[in-house]
C-alpha cells in the first residue's frame, strides 16, 4: 500500500474513533509495515495491519481478533471492541421512487 493510501486509512480510523466518541491516538506500527497502533485513553491497545493477500488483521493487546475482508468489517470490529455502546444504524432502502 502506498504511503498516501496508508495515511488515508489512518485518517479514516481517527475519524471513526471521533464519531464513536472514543479518545484515542492512531500511530504507525513500528513492527508492521502499513500497520497502525490504536491507543485509547482508557488504556486499550489495538493493532491493525493489512493482510498479505487482502483485508485487515486486527489484534487487541496482542491477541488476534481475526481478519476482515475490507474497511467495513474492520470498522465494525473496532467499534465493537472500543465503543460497544456507540449508536449504530442500518441502511434502509425505502420503497418510494425518487423520480
Amino acid at each position: 500500500m502506498s504511503r498516501h493510501k496508508t495515511a488515508r486509512v489512518a485518517r479514516v480510523l481517527s475519524g471513526a474513533l471521533r464519531v464513536w466518541g472514543v479518545s484515542a491516538s492512531v500511530e504507525r506500527d513500528p513492527e508492521r509495515p502499513a500497520g497502525f497502533v490504536l491507543r485509547t485513553q482508557s488504556g486499550i491497545r489495538m493493532q491493525v495491519a493489512p493482510a498479505a493477500s487482502r483485508g485487515w488483521l486486527v489484534w487487541r493487546e496482542g491477541r488476534s481478533l481475526g481478519v476482515h475482508n475490507g474497511l467495513p468489517g474492520l470498522l465494525r470490529s473496532l467499534r465493537q471492541e472500543l465503543a460497544p455502546e456507540a449508536a449504530t444504524g442500518r441502511l434502509i432502502i425505502g420503497s418510494q421512487s425518487l423520480l
Partner: protein, 321 residues
C-alpha cells in the same frame, strides 16, 4: 398513474407556516392541493385558519407528527388517496404541515418507506419557514429550528414586512446553514407558489460550499472527479448509515458511476433511510463530477471524503486482483 408530489412544510412555532399555507391555497398555482395539518396540543386550531374546502384539509390531532402520529399520517394520506381514486376529492398535490416542534426526518422517512403509500406519492420538497422578525433569536435558542432550516429544500423567509432579512443578516445566516436551498421572501404570507413547488431533488444547485456549523449542524459537499464503482457507493452508504446514525440528517447527490457512463445516479437519504437510487438519462448540467451534499450533526467532511476514497481504493484493488 404517476406518483403525486408531496411537500412537507416545517418551521418553528409561530414562524408563519399556517399563514403561508392559507395564502398559498388561494394562489391558482397551488390549486388542487390537499393539506394535512398536524397540531400539537389538545385542541387543533391551525386547520381552521387554513382556507380551503374541509374535504381537502385533514387534521391530525393528539400529538406531534414526528413522534406520535406517524401511523396516522400514513393512514390519513392513504384515506386521501382512496377518496381521490373514488372521485370524492380532487387534488394533484399533498402538503403536510408539521408542528413547530417537529423533527421532519421521521416524517420524511415514513413517506419514503411505507409500502401502502410509497408507490402513490413522491416526496418533492421540504419547505422551511423562518421568521424574519424573531428568526435570529429562535435560531439562537432552539437547535430544532436550525435543523429544520438545514433539512429544507426551500426556505421561506416570512414576515419580511416586519424586518428586512437582508439588512438584519438573517438571510445570510440561513444561507450559511443551508447553502443549497433557494430562499423566497414572504410578505404577509404571500409567496409565489410556482417557485415553491415543482422540480426534482437533483435539479437544485449542488454547491461546492465550504463547511459551516451552527448549533452543531454542518453542511458540506463531497466532490469527486473520477467515477465511483457502484459497489463503493453501496458500501459508503452502508457505512454512513451504520456508524453515523442519527448524526446524518440528510444526504443527497449526483454520482458518476463507473458501470453507468453518462447516466448519473441520484441518491437521497434522510438519516439511515434512503430512496432507491434513481438513474438519470443524462447529466442535468455541464458539471460531470460526483457531488454529494451532506447535512449532519458534527460529522467531518474530510473524514467522509477519506472514507469514500479509501473504500474505492479497496474496491479497485479487488477489481484488479
Amino acid at each position: 398513474m404517476s406518483p403525486l408530489p408531496v411537500s412537507v412544510v416545517t418551521g418553528f412555532l409561530g414562524s408563519g407556516k399556517t399563514t403561508l399555507l392559507s395564502r398559498l391555497l388561494r394562489d391558482p398555482a397551488a390549486a388542487r392541493t390537499a393539506v394535512i395539518v398536524n397540531e400539537f396540543g389538545e385542541v387543533g386550531l391551525d386547520h381552521l385558519l387554513v382556507e380551503a374546502s374541509d374535504e381537502e384539509v385533514v387534521l391530525l390531532e393528539g400529538g406531534c407528527l414526528c413522534c406520535k402520529v406517524r401511523g396516522d399520517l400514513v393512514r390519513t394520506a392513504g384515506h386521501l388517496l382512496a377518496r381521490r381514486a373514488r372521485g370524492a376529492a380532487a387534488f394533484d398535490r399533498i402538503v403536510i404541515e408539521t408542528t413547530g416542534l417537529a423533527d421532519p426526518a421521521p416524517i420524511l422517512q415514513a413517506l419514503m418507506t411505507d409500502r401502502e403509500i410509497a408507490d402513490a406519492l413522491r416526496l418533492e420538497s421540504v419547505i422551511a419557514t423562518v421568521d424574519c422578525a424573531a428568526g435570529d433569536a429562535t435560531l439562537d435558542a432552539h437547535p430544532e429550528s436550525v435543523k429544520q432550516a438545514a433539512l429544507a429544500d426551500r426556505i421561506v423567509l416570512t414576515k419580511a414586512d416586519l424586518a428586512d432579512p437582508a439588512q438584519s443578516g438573517l438571510a445570510e445566516r440561513v444561507r450559511r446553514i443551508n447553502p443549497s436551498a433557494p430562499q423566497l421572501t414572504a410578505l404577509h404570507g404571500a409567496v409565489d407558489a410556482s417557485r415553491l413547488f415543482g422540480g426534482a431533488p437533483y435539479d437544485r444547485p449542488l454547491y461546492n460550499h465550504g463547511s459551516h456549523a451552527e448549533s452543531g449542524v454542518t453542511s458540506f459537499c463531497l466532490r469527486r472527479s473520477a467515477p465511483l464503482h457502484a459497489v463503493t457507493l453501496s458500501l459508503f452508504l452502508q457505512l454512513v448509515a451504520e456508524h453515523c446514525g442519527a448524526r446524518l440528517l440528510r444526504l443527497k447527490g449526483l454520482v458518476d458511476v463507473v458501470e453507468s457512463p453518462g447516466r448519473p445516479a441520484v441518491i437521497h437519504g434522510v438519516q439511515h433511510v434512503f430512496h432507491p437510487p434513481a438513474w438519470l438519462e443524462a447529466w442535468p448540467d455541464d458539471d460531470r463530477t460526483t457531488r454529494i451534499v451532506v447535512i449532519s450533526q458534527e460529522l467531518d467532511a474530510e473524514w467522509l471524503q477519506d472514507l469514500l476514497e479509501a473504500l474505492d481504493d479497496e474496491v479497485k484493488a479487488c477489481s484488479i486482483s
